[in-house]
Symmetry: C2
Subunit: 305 residues, 2 copies
């Protein structure tokens, strides 16, 4: 009912990172793409199969050193229902290798509709009395713009099935402040208010490490806000995007963690997935390059904790 | 590049409404469910096929009187990739019957990731030089919490392919005010600021009726805000949920429209889909009941314009 399982794994592997699986087709080594183009033509089926081979190669390469993966739904929806099937197969494959899976969907809606998202992504769907798991991830990113009606339906599923959610608080992008930094009367910003709401929602999902099951997305690109929210809300666990490719370095991450070195899981997507391009190694060594980058990132972050 | 096609259709049919397609399995007549349980067992496949038969029956029943459908992604994701396949088939079926399709996904992300959503839902996906349409709806609902970085990638696709987006401004749910009604310094509310941002984004997508391609979701349950935003922003087209099932009546909708009777498309989901339950007719007449309710809603709304 919280992030206990994720934090257990972070402690076990001494690695507070998550590998983003955002597989644009152009990231996939050409030899894999060609193999499926030959079989299926240049179709969504071919793309979906190529992404699956790429994903499983990456997971095999780092599942013993990285605690979690974060597939980004946009990159699967882009390839139609065939891509969404690859997403589902990827979730199950990562879990079969012992990884914790955070679905990055930033879902949001209200009441019965949010219950449908909760059932599909974290819970079970009732089919004539049979309970079937549709996607079955361990955690889901969500957007809290709609208020409690959009969050409470998730809390029930998280409590019943030991899952967690990450609510967007202060996102990593340059324009995140357009809305999130606006100052409310009383000098509180919009993102600070969202963090307060996360704390409230989290009370229903306490965890053994002192972190609730309602985490927050806070970008590595805003180190001051990371530290500020950590200080104000010691029980909110962070998902931190923006390390590496988006320009956030390891030093800026320090404030996201508490004195025990816990409190956040830091994401890297492209830098790991496309490490073979940056290294300039043979594309058939894409998985080896991903592992080397994952280890480099682990050491980089641990060096500042 | 705006909502011209939708508004053309609204004028042609004299009906400013959209039928929500939020097909929970429990809404589907039992005889349809049983047919697919027999064929596939109680599985996601069976659910997905039952939903498709239900959706196509509904579309056949009202495609000559209702201009648009709004499938809600949550109710398809709930049934896994099989459900998402039914979503895709539903989009194409509705379009083949001349209907305008608004995908209710409330998607949100930044930069390249938002481009992926834009490609998947409104544009085309590049597969080795081939352009393939993944879902191909006419419009998409989105959440603007991340600021311009989350919206501008959509504008390009809308401009190139004559599509539109609806940004959440003031949602219909009871707790929508928790964040959206907060007052900023200078006495502007968060939702009012979001409306101002919609106006800005919309400048790139002008339309022949004076409405841009960046619309707003504003709930029927908040008639005062509907009227206020209409007055402040004459060029923002509204998608209005909350009529009927959520308690918003036709009278409260008046403020959403301009003096020409244009400016909004009003959604009804459950009241149309489940009209056969409310009527108490034979479930095999579910489509007839949906048509009767769609006509009743049309007359109800036109009576106040």
């Amino acid at each position: 009912m919280s992030f206990n399982r994720l934090i257990d794994k972070i402690i076990e592997l001494k690695n507070p990172t998550v590998a983003g699986l955002d597989p644009k087709l152009e990231y996939v080594p050409q030899y894999i793409r060609d193999k499926y183009y030959e079989q299926y033509g240049k179709t969504l089926e071919a793309a979906a199969e190529a992404l699956y081979e790429y994903n499983t190669g990456l997971i095999d390469a780092f599942c013993d050193i990285v605690p979690a993966v974060k597939p980004q739904m946009a990159y699967y929806e882009m390839y139609g229902w065939q891509g969404v099937r690859t997403f589902e197969r990827t979730v199950r494959y990562a879990q079969s290798k012992g990884m914790y899976v955070i679905t990055d969907g930033k879902r949001n809606d209200i009441g019965a509709t949010m219950e449908a998202y909760a059932a599909g992504h974290l819970g079970v769907t009732d089919i004539g009395g049979e309970e079937v798991e549709a996607f079955g991830a361990d955690a889901l990113t969500v957007n809290g713009y709609l208020g409690s009606d959009g969050i409470t339906p998730l809390l029930k599923v998280c409590a019943a099935r030991d899952k967690g959610i990450f609510v967007l608080v202060k996102t990593s992008n340059p324009s995140s402040g357009e809305l999130q930094n606006l100052e409310l009367k009383g000098n509180e910003s919009v993102y600070a208010r969202m963090a307060v709401m996360c704390d409230e929602w989290g009370k229903e999902l306490p965890g053994k490490y002192g972190f609730t099951g309602v985490g927050a997305v806070v970008g590595a690109t805003y180190p001051e806000q990371l530290a500020e929210i950590r200080t104000e809300h010691p029980s909110i666990f962070f998902l931190v995007p923006g390390y590496g490719a988006q320009g956030g370095g390891a030093k800026g991450l320090v404030g996201a963690f508490n004195k025990d070195g816990l409190g956040a899981v830091v994401n890297s997507s492209r830098a790991i997935m496309c490490a073979y391009k940056k290294e300039g190694c043979d594309e058939r060594d894409f998985a080896g390059a991903a592992r080397r980058e994952a280890l480099r990132m682990k050491d980089d972050i641990n060096s500042v904790l």
